[in-house]
């Protein structure tokens, strides 16, 4: 993930507008690039997509994917939905939170790891499921996940 940079962000926004995308398309590109959408982007987004700043803010707040704070180096998303609950997702989540000292939605002080909730990854026959930096994980147990966490924490 790249550190926020206004010039680069503005370039991405203008390109998205030129490509004929709607504003969420631009937000998607910003998140893919920087991991989040900085407040600094609201004014240029409003201008490029002819919407009010309040509207742009509303869009960012509405969608879970559009983080408004930079995530850690690694992002672990743990499935919280029913099929995974049925095979111990609650206990797994608790174990991960205890191991990392983080709650869902929190980032470690050293900015290494962010934990997030996700509601279903479509891996429901093989839960508990999760996703680490875009890599899907299934049939997890707490021993396995702590092992995986060790690799990103070192």
């Amino acid at each position: 993930m790249v550190q926020w940079n206004d010039t680069q962000a503005n370039r991405l926004i203008d390109q998205a507008a030129r490509d004929g995308l709607v504003v969420t398309g631009a937000l998607r590109r910003l998140v893919d690039h920087f991991g989040y959408v900085d407040d600094e982007a609201i004014a240029p987004l409003a201008k490029a997509f002819s919407r009010s700043k309040a509207e742009i803010y509303g869009v960012i707040q509405y969608y879970t994917d559009f983080r408004d704070k930079p995530p850690g180096q690694h992002v672990l998303r743990l499935c919280q939905a029913e099929s995974c609950q049925a095979v111990g997702a609650r206990e797994l989540t608790k174990a991960v939170c205890e191991h990392t000292g983080l709650g869902l939605g929190e980032t470690s002080k050293d900015k290494n790891l962010t934990l997030e909730a996700v509601y279903c990854l479509g891996l429901c026959a093989n839960g508990p499921a999760a996703e680490l930096d875009g890599q899907p994980l299934a049939e997890l147990d707490s021993a396995q996940i702590t092992e995986i966490l060790r690799t990103v924490q070192s």
Binding site: V59, A86, V87, V118, G122, A125, N126, A138
Partner: protein
């Protein structure tokens, strides 16, 4: 000639190590100087056996279940390339009872072919329906869909033919076909499997929908949690354009259809059709008031068909074999086959396509094999987070839209989540409210505030049944969409069928 080996490239198989398995097979083959060709097929839907390794032999394809990287040397030693015996061998794939006892119509190619090979798609019956449709009048296509009795697979079960007819009759130079690939229900993955395993089927169905209604533009609204499907669809769209199955003057017919992919941004309510339209227009996914119907005033205010992935994927075969053929499969007004999905605490989870009418018992016990942890099945939730919790006493119910209505449940998108003895139904009921509070679009007070209130009521040491029922009634009556109006279903079914979990102090 090199031996063909199949290792799924679908998201689940990859989560379970399919990429590493493919690398290991490749390097072991090279070390042994055996030429192999690895095909990254879609999934057969036998999730319990993933990663499922298959080899093509003279007798047919032979399967090895739960194949891991560390099994690879032993598999070569056992001569797996010619179907050699090994403890993970499941025999001929087509003869595995779990698959052989299904009726694969919509999923007939999924896991069989290379998902991105138009040639293989066509050898297995692909584009036959579309080719036929290119020579039919719009009214003739709609006639077949009406005759088929096809109902929407996204949740509500609305007749597809009637929706198409409304859009076809609507005036306006620009119309749209929107595919709802938001698949947000926990316990469902049929859309994901077909998009990853047979993407041209969806494209074919959408072009036919365009021909039937006069729409020349289509968009697939895909949830962002499915990045692998996004990549496959993008490639499939480019390939279909190149082969002139999309774009201008399709196969010299003078008919046009342009199709694009749109990726969502993590919102369950955006699966609701009007919220989805708002989202496509770059706005927050706030549910629109109906009327107007999206069929008349949909995307950008123009006539729009919105159908689920599986609904559209059922279309090509209906055109190929005729609406009458489809209407004879299934039971009563639930025609055709339904791809059910077995999930949660299940021994043999995955995709089970059967004609409507199969009982829950057949699905849960015969195919699912009961729970994964070996405890008795205590409950199933059917139809996603807004679906009912049902006890084993109701497993004799046939999967039929009307039969389900009589027991206060719905089939929804066909997801069946199993729970074992360890489940706490009060926790599940509280979760239903929690999910509603989390995902509510905020338009209606009963949904936005009621869900939070419901969570609080279920956290109290003693349950006030009358108060919860009152709250549910307000939510049912005062919510503009099913998010708020149907959240009471899991709550009240849990309370009705599992009262013991609500009488004592639990949670």
């Amino acid at each position: 000639m090199s031996q063909r080996v199949f290792i799924p490239g679908d998201m689940l198989a990859i989560a379970l190590g399919a990429n590493q398995l493919a690398e290991a097979v490749q390097s072991e083959a090279e070390a042994r100087k055996i030429p192999v060709q690895i095909v990254r097929n879609g999934s057969r839907g036998m999730c319990w056996a993933e990663p499922l390794l298959e080899v093509e032999t003279s007798k047919g394809r032979v399967a090895y279940g739960k194949a891991l990287t560390r099994d690879v040397p032993a598999l070569f030693d056992a001569g797996f390339l010619t179907g050699g015996a090994h403890k993970k061998c499941l025999g001929l794939t087509e003869d595995i009872p779990w698959l052989a006892n299904q009726t694969r119509v919509i999923f007939n190619r999924c896991g069989v072919i290379d998902p991105l090979s138009i040639a293989e798609f066509e050898t297995h019956g692909g584009f036959v329906g579309l080719t036929k449709a290119l020579h039919l009048a719009p009214a003739q296509i709609i006639e077949q869909i009406l005759a088929s009795g096809l109902r929407g697979r996204g949740g509500a079960g609305f007749p597809a033919g009637i929706k198409w007819q409304t859009v076809a009759a609507a005036t306006g130079p620009t119309k749209h076909i929107v595919c709802n690939a938001d698949e947000g229900d926990s316990g469902t993955f049929a859309d994901r499997l077909i998009m990853e395993g047979d993407p041209f089927r969806l494209i074919e169905g959408m072009v036919i929908a365009g021909l039937a209604t006069g729409a020349e533009h289509g968009v697939i609204y895909l949830r962002s949690e499915y990045p692998f499907a996004a990549k496959i669809l993008e490639t499939a769209l480019r390939l279909a354009e190149k082969a002139n199955w999309l774009g201008e003057d399709i196969q010299g017919s003078g008919k046009h259809f342009a199709l694009e992919l749109f990726v969502g941004a993590g919102s369950y309510v955006c699966g609701e059709e009007t919220a989805l339209l708002e989202s496509l227009e770059g706005k927050p996914g706030i549910v629109r008031s109906k009327p107007p119907l999206p069929a008349l005033e949909g995307l950008h205010g123009e006539p729009t068909v919105i159908n689920n992935v599986i609904t559209l994927c059922a279309v090509p075969d209906i055109i190929t074999h005729g609406g009458k053929w489809h209407s004879t499969i299934g039971m009563e007004r639930s025609t055709g086959t339904m791809p059910f999905q077995l999930a949660g605490n299940v021994a043999k989870g995955g995709l089970v396509e059967l004609p409507f009418g199969a009982t829950l018992d057949v699905l849960v016990n015969e195919f699912g094999g009961g729970t994964r942890d070996g405890t008795p099945v205590r409950a199933v939730q059917i139809g996603g987070p807004l679906g009912a919790y049902l006890p084993p006493e109701l497993f004799g119910t046939q999967t039929d839209y009307e039969a389900f209505t009589t027991i206060g449940a719905g089939i929804g998108h066909g997801g069946i989540v199993l729970y074992g003895a360890g489940v706490n139904m009060r926790e599940q009921a509280a979760y239903a409210f929690e999910f509603c509070a989390e995902e509510s679009c905020g338009k209606c007070t009963p949904c936005r505030i009621g869900a939070v209130r419901g969570m609080e009521l279920l956290e109290k040491p003693t349950i006030d049944h009358a108060l919860i029922d009152d709250l549910c009634e307000v939510m049912i009556k005062g919510s503009a969409c099913a998010m708020g109006a149907m959240t009471p279903i899991p709550v009240q079914s849990a309370m009705k069928y599992f009262p013991e979990d609500f009488s004592k102090e639990t949670g």
